[in-house]
Symmetry: C2
Subunit: 398 residues, 2 copies
């Protein structure tokens, strides 16, 4: 186990009717002039926004509003939000919705107290020194942004999609009511499940030795996601399945599962290129990337994959030939993604073989140099080989 620091100070209020506590919690965390920041109308349609307004009014908390956040949230709206916060002297920001609304709220929070361009932080040209406190009301189980210190913003003008990590943007409180995830389209529910699983797998695939505790914790949450994911897809209004999925999403990415171990994150980097080039949903892209990544790395890491197969999918260990167990585990993962109606090949995603050299050339972890990941460090040729494994014609070539 490696040395680590861990701190997850966010105050979570979880369960039915917790959205009605937003006024109480905002007051507790000293918000007096609030920006409500949200997306394209689902929080209006499902009534959440009205409940939030009412709760704030009951506590005599003033607020202004900015809607219109798009999936893959844009810098444009962040600039607009920053201007609004400065003009209205906002001292507290609440992001309502999924990861996009929350990430956009986080960007506004650091940008509003900075004299320069907020994009400096995402380009790593500057480090944020202060921020307006951010809180969240989550309506989608996926990104884990409700409990994380990160934000990802797309700058269309510059053709860049960059992330920021800072303790200043970790939410001071997050409200999670699983009922608000009932009405999600099945496709979004599925993308969320893949995203949450991926956050765990980026941590699970490690060479750090003697991380028995975090291995088991990762496996616990993966099993939960798979079991409850199946239920939620069949029965979208199943509270218990939605609740287990939602809290799993927070666990998957506040790093409680990743402490003390080297993490990989090469699959996320490869997926980001697919999202950038074809504008596909992050979860759908990950459902294509991860199986290929697993197939490529498995031969050198047979025992780790056998452990995954045995403990997460309960596939019996083949002691004579552990590779059979490892392979069966990867196949079970692909089958699970298919059962969610997720794409698992390049073609299903609308990606093109001829773009592979470009994708491979661009796939980088910010500040990570030429090599991608740590579990099995990938050079340019390796990355191309992983993308090749995503093609329909190659999917069994492993």
């Amino acid at each position: 186990m490696n040395n680590f620091d861990f701190c997850s100070p966010t105050y979570f209020a979880f369960g039915k009717d917790t959205e009605k506590r937003v006024g109480e919690l905002t007051k507790k965390f000293n918000g007096s002039k609030v920006l409500l920041h949200y997306g394209q109308g689902s929080v209006i349609k499902n009534g959440l926004l009205d409940i939030v307004r009412e709760s704030l009014r009951q506590e005599n908390i003033e607020f202004v509003e900015l809607g219109g956040v798009l999936p893959n949230p844009r810098a444009d709206l962040v600039y607009e939000g920053i201007e609004l916060c400065k003009k209205e002297k906002v001292d507290f920001i609440i992001g309502l919705g999924g990861g996009s609304a929350i990430d956009s709220a986080k960007a506004i929070s650091v940008g509003s107290l900075y004299d320069g361009d907020f994009w400096d932080f995402y380009e790593m040209k500057a480090i944020p020194q202060k921020a307006i406190p951010v809180a969240t009301i989550l309506t989608l189980a996926a990104t884990g942004s409700e409990g994380s210190n990160s934000s990802v913003i797309s700058n269309i003008k510059l053709g860049k999609k960059y992330g920021l990590n800072s303790e200043l943007i970790r939410p001071v409180f997050s409200i999670l009511n699983p009922e608000y995830t009932y009405s999600l389209p099945a496709y979004q529910t599925a993308c969320g499940i893949v995203d949450m699983l991926s956050h765990i797998m980026e941590r699970y695939f490690t060479n750090t030795q003697d991380v028995g505790l975090t291995d088991r914790l990762c496996e616990a949450v993966m099993q939960t996601l798979i079991a409850n994911g199946k239920v939620a897809m069949q029965d979208p209004n199943n509270y218990e399945a939605r609740a287990n999925l939602m809290w799993s999403g927070t666990m998957a990415h506040n790093n409680i599962l990743g402490v003390g171990r080297e993490q990989d994150w090469s699959s996320h980097a490869m997926e980001h290129e697919l999202s950038a080039l074809y504008d596909v949903a992050h979860g759908a892209g990950l459902a294509v990337v991860f199986p290929a990544f697993m197939k490529f790395t498995m031969p050198k890491h047979i025992m780790r994959y056998a452990q995954l197969a045995n403990r997460v999918f309960h596939i019996e260990m083949d002691f004579e030939n552990p590779e059979n167990t490892a392979r069966a585990g990867i196949e079970a993962f692909v089958d699970f993604f298919k059962s969610l109606n997720m794409p698992t090949t390049f073609e299903e995603l609308g990606a093109k073989e001829e773009d592979i050299p470009t994708l491979a050339a661009n796939a980088r972890i910010k500040g990570g140099g030429d090599q991608l990941g740590f579990f099995e460090p990938l050079n340019r040729k390796d990355i191309e080989a992983v993308y090749q494994l995503m093609l329909e014609k190659n999917k069994n070539n492993w």
Copy 2:
């Protein structure tokens, strides 16, 4: 799953040499005049105290010291600490050691900023409104006090042992270097393992439905404790085993495993009476109480015990007669306690059959009324029956 609030804001620094960061972290959390509070000398012998002094001096942080904390920490020393803090205008308290030093530090922290008697808080006659920030350097994996909001103090004069829960006493930072647990006597290591397992079982034994995620998380940490407990008993200087145990102890009691579920805590209440009457170590008492509690409650909760047996001890499910699986799990628990050289009967603990009526009459959860626990609510007669099952002659009568 029940609604819940969860917040665990403590900053953890985990691993080798982290104790050298105490100056840096104290500064980060604005400590300028520190009380170092510790036990009876192990932190002097193992050199920890000197390292801490040096680290504080390097950051020009002043400090005073108060040693002498006993196991089952006493109110007497708390009063002494409060006087010292007032006189020296201490603004930060660091508890060095195990749960006793930390719990004593927490009591001093709330008492120092209160005009009345700190014991009021433990009697629930008053609620703390402010406290001096507390930090910890942990040298024993057991109580979880390094990440919890609780403190237990014994008031010998009044013959009472009471606990306080308050967010004000949750440590602002905790330093955990597993190397400091190498030199523990085997008996203390074993008591710690039982204590950590017990914190999980009090949460695991619940009637709340659909808590799949927290069930799996509980099972993950229990498996880790059992596997690494065995290694640490054989090989006390095994860093990896000590590290997995130590972080498990924090997980076991910061409530990440217990959110959204009704918890039991009747075994702790029954053990407290044993500790009070016979001055036995808390972990040793729990090793006697838990098997009896399990035997008594199993017949009405066969499937929960079968799940525990199957998932934690990997005992094959007997689908024809699940009770066989449930029984085998309880037997595996008892065998594990025995392998740690823990007592598992009344006689081994030095407890006496004739005291059972007194023990049962006194066993209460503060504010819990006449009934003990929730998993299987115990009345006076039930509690006596549980104590009876701890007797050598009755241990197989279930």
